[in-house]
Symmetry: C2
Subunit: 211 residues, 2 copies
């Protein structure tokens, strides 16, 4: 058997190049030639890694999705405060890619989302990522609400619904920042207000929790 190369690492390197280009020139500005140039490999190398362009994009969107969810998990794990409240706040902050240094990732994500709305195959990994994030949020909200909550006060918020709302709000805010309708600070204010309200509803649903 002749020369062996590490395809996986190369695939990742190419995926990074895809992200860089999607950030700079949008979803339409990602050509295989440019990707190859960015990854500092030949066009043939890209072709050998992926059967066609769609497979390349598929791998790239998976790559981004894992990167984001991984970043959220890291942020949660590194937080000294173990309360679900601050954890959820941090998670939401990581999801809503509002900070300047996350702007690139946000553009990449939007590029893939727009494409996935048409390409069914590209939607798969995207849905997987969304499902993972939703599950994480459901867990955090449930934890914050408290599993032992008896039926006191108002009905506690439905964790799944709250998770979905939070996820959608974060995504919408990200989009609005990208198109320039909101600034990052304005979006953050909206997000934090929503979270504050969520706490309030959780708190009033469990009055005994105060102690």
């Amino acid at each position: 058997m002749p020369r062996q190369v590490d395809y996986e690492s190369r695939r990742r390197r190419i995926a990074e190049a895809v992200c860089l280009l999607a950030d700079e020139h949008g979803p339409e500005g990602v050509s295989m030639r440019d990707v190859a140039a960015r990854a500092q490999v030949s066009l043939g190398a890209v072709q050998r890694c992926f059967r066609n362009k769609e497979e390349m994009l598929l791998f790239a969107v998976d790559h981004v999705g894992e990167r984001i969810t991984e970043r959220v998990r890291t942020r949660l794990a590194s937080s000294p405060d173990r309360s679900a409240a601050t954890a959820l706040g941090h998670a939401a902050d990581e999801i809503a890619l509002l900070r300047e240094e996350q702007r690139a990732e946000a553009r990449i994500w939007l590029a893939f989302v727009a494409r996935a709305a048409v390409s069914e195959v590209l939607g798969g990994p995207l849905r997987t990522s969304y499902a993972a994030l939703q599950d994480l949020f459901v867990r955090l909200v449930t934890e914050a609400t408290g599993s032992d909550s008896a039926d006191e006060g108002a009905a506690p918020p439905d964790p799944r619904r709250e998770a979905r709302a939070l996820l959608a709000l974060a995504d919408g805010l990200t989009t609005h920042v990208l198109v320039g309708h909101l600034t990052g600070e304005e979006a953050e204010e909206v997000l934090h207000a929503h979270l504050a309200d969520l706490w309030e509803r959780i708190r009033t649903a469990r009055p005994r929790e105060a102690g």
Copy 2:
């Protein structure tokens, strides 16, 4: 002076063709030739209407934006119930393009948003549309809160912030339906729950309102 044609109506017809194609094949699948064929005009006719492709897309996004805001206004005007509460609910329903028959418009919108995140010139009309919708929502929330609200009970919600949150939530939900993370019904449930909560907060902020 020789033959005179109605350029404006033709531009609109072309814009409709752009929307149809953006819906079917995504943002990248909109070529001037396909647009011309869809609009049943020659390629030259399209070129005479718009100096280049970007101008065409610019006109189309303006067209869509006006159509959506117009639809919201119509819905509000036609509602027999003049209360701000139901009005805001209807408006949110029209904004969040969750119903099946609005799916096409949603895809078009997402296509333009994704492109606008890169193309600065395309972002202009998009921001205009968002600003118009936000103003509308601010007005409705303010009306619902009541301008005469004294400082009773909890602080009433900030209308602008609530408008932004509602707009972002609606957009995010639309996106999540398009990528298949949520069904239209699930998204609607989340949206309505958010609205219900908004009413609750408005109500508790003005306890005298009950009468």
